[in-house]
Symmetry: C2
Subunit: 408 residues, 2 copies
């Protein structure tokens, strides 16, 4: 019998997979990791902020005294003491969160995937801020929603730009209210109140993603949407920015009727999150030094943010604007309109500095003259050198476009 | 303004979530974990098989010498040395697997989820053995396929019971060829050859799930479907049964055209698998003692399996039959037709022993007079006591049904 080899490309993929596009950003981030490049691109915590010694001591302790717990199959909901510690930490002021409302996830990326899986059918309307977090768009897009962008300004998303019809028909609104990725902006208290009022009127579900809230530079963030409307919010949190991303431990808080479904989706996704890393997160969260650890990260990022802002003011030409974050890891630069930041990226790379072009952070309509910088990962010296290089690349582009414009 | 609280049950869920059913098995497994119960239910590795000391030493070493690697964000494909070590181990005889064909997943449960996500649209035909692995049905069912069951016998699935039409239209066939969960059966070499021949003719994609293949009691398993038809197979593997399930490290091997999509789905799911546990798996896999560690687990499970078979022969009444596995963790019991194993479960629990009713392991048509036992978790004493108790429960049921039948 003549057994022919099967031809390539012969499998019929799911519609959602046919629509998946190769991520140009992935390639771009790989380039940014070259050792000769100062990278303001990837949202990596500072390596100096990782509590290595304490994690090593905790791992040793866990594998001495709770090895079977850490290494055997565990409950899909997560490690109970960790869920209790998270609930305790989220219970502030008048808000009371119970451990039963917490589902531990494999990073908050998984929480986004689970929420999308449980709530989105092909064509479902989904509201997202613009610009918005790229990883959220990727997670949501897998379930083939119809995105609708919500405009933002310096005080975050604009609730009065949401139509009643959109709010009533959308499956969810995704927002990062604190030190948003990519802009570093914070949703103001007034806007939170206005948004929650409209949510109560329309029944919209809010997905509040808060990976950076603990990285506040001074004082407090405004109250969470969760605390303001617990019955209307799925709240996502993460230990990636405050302990270590490689642990892949995040969580979600959800109303009970959604939790039932989210838990089933979690179980089908990966049974449960790694027992060892859940216990590591729990050990650090409860060892009494957690708040001083957080303070050290906040001071580091505040200083690095202040330095980057100073350098931007010092080196950038006229016509370049940027945000002034009150916390988090990112700031957002708006260039003169004639500069496309994806072209600027190539120039900047030649000068040895990398960022992420702003077009990546939009579900529908990219804004080409924007870019995201992180000040968390680089050292102070690298920040100074890198911003000077970036300014040079922008100035060169401006000269070039000026020449082009001048030619009749 | 009168602000009414939102009513319960107001969110429109995705169709797939509306179809998710609460798992009765979850509740059942919780009961089985009571300390007064001898459990043959959950598929948990023996706690004595966990390489705790070696994992502790490896964790200490990793957090001393590669802490940033373990704790920072990592590549979605997985930790390169681990992918290389897996590829090396899968390359036997004439089969050559490259690291680029390996995607590390958060347990092989996630591999099932990713494969299903990339390949299944609502209504897509999906072929599964019957009985089959419950976790696979859960993962696949999320994407709303039309299941079609493939009959099996003592030598595994029956390729000549597959119609050409089914094989040409189905998105995939899911099978566990080695020491299948739940039956403990192995797909014979003859059947593998027949299946692969038909796959070459019809272009069907095989999903070969092999979490137990390393747990062979003596000699070797037949060649993998991957080695026989690398262009037509997605192969899933796991470290849950040979190192520790709590690490949540598994992998898949896929043809390049599928890998591109699986990688995008992986990235959207959880960015990457935990860096620390990937390094722990790599350390154990490559430290030179791995094969002797495997031998120790095989000997343990072989002895426990032999003991359970001996006890079954000693205690079970006539009319009860069971499989004789050549590896793995499970065996499959067929009861007299009048006994429904879900009712027997209640009786057995009162006598202090638990199993999983066989109905859980079918995508469509449950077979009520079957049950799954694992001999991996319990101690030898527990195996002896537990099987005697189970036999008592079965005998009592038989007496009861005999009486019922006798009444006119």
């Amino acid at each position: 019998m003549d057994r022919h080899l099967p031809p390539a490309g012969r499998w019929q993929l799911a519609m959602r997979a046919q629509r998946m596009k190769p991520s140009s950003l992935r390639e771009l981030l790989k380039v940014a990791e070259r050792p000769d490049i100062i990278s303001f691109a990837g949202g990596l915590p500072s390596p100096y902020a990782l509590p290595v010694e304490r994690l090593r001591a905790a791992a040793d302790d866990i594998l001495r005294h709770d090895a079977t717990g850490a290494l055997q199959y565990g409950p899909s909901e997560g490690y109970t003491p960790l869920r209790e510690a998270i609930a305790e930490r989220l219970s502030t002021g008048g808000t009371r969160i119970n451990a039963s409302q917490i589902l531990v996830t494999t990073g908050s990326q998984q929480a986004l995937d689970l929420v999308a899986r449980v709530l989105i059918d092909p064509g479902s309307r989904v509201l997202v801020e613009t610009p918005t977090y790229l990883g959220a768009v990727q997670a949501l897009a897998q379930y083939e929603p119809a995105f609708e962008e919500v405009p933002t300004d310096a005080a975050g998303l604009l609730p009065d730009r949401l139509s009643d019809a959109s709010m009533r028909s959308a499956r969810l609104l995704y927002t990062q209210p604190n030190f948003q990725n990519p802009t570093g902006r914070t949703l103001s208290l007034e806007r939170r109140i206005a948004l929650v009022a409209r949510v109560h009127d329309t029944g919209l579900l809010l997905v509040e993603d808060d990976p950076y809230g603990e990285l506040v530079y001074s004082g407090h963030t405004p109250p969470s949407l969760l605390s303001m409307a617990p019955e209307s919010v799925v709240h996502l949190g993460s230990f990636s920015k405050v302990i270590a991303p490689g642990l892949r431990v995040g969580y979600l808080v959800a109303p009970e009727e959604l939790m039932v479904k989210l838990l089933q989706a979690k179980q089908a996704s990966d049974l449960h999150t790694t027992g060892l890393t859940q216990r590591l997160a729990h050990a650090l969260l409860t060892d009494g030094d957690y708040d001083s650890h957080l303070t050290a990260i906040r001071l580091r990022y505040r200083a690095q943010c202040a330095l980057m802002l100073k350098c931007l003011a010092q080196y950038m030409p006229d016509g370049v604007a940027w945000t002034r974050p009150a916390g988090g890891m990112f700031l957002w630069v708006t260039l003169p309109e004639q500069i496309d930041s994806s072209h600027l990226f190539e120039d900047a790379l030649k000068l040895g500095v990398a960022f992420i072009p702003g077009a990546s952070f939009h579900a529908i309509s990219p804004q080409a003259n924007t870019l995201r910088l992180t000040f968390a990962t680089a050292t102070p010296t690298e920040i100074e050198t890198g911003i000077a290089r970036l300014a040079d690349a922008i100035k060169a582009r401006l000269r070039e476009t000026a020449v082009c414009v001048a030619v009749p």
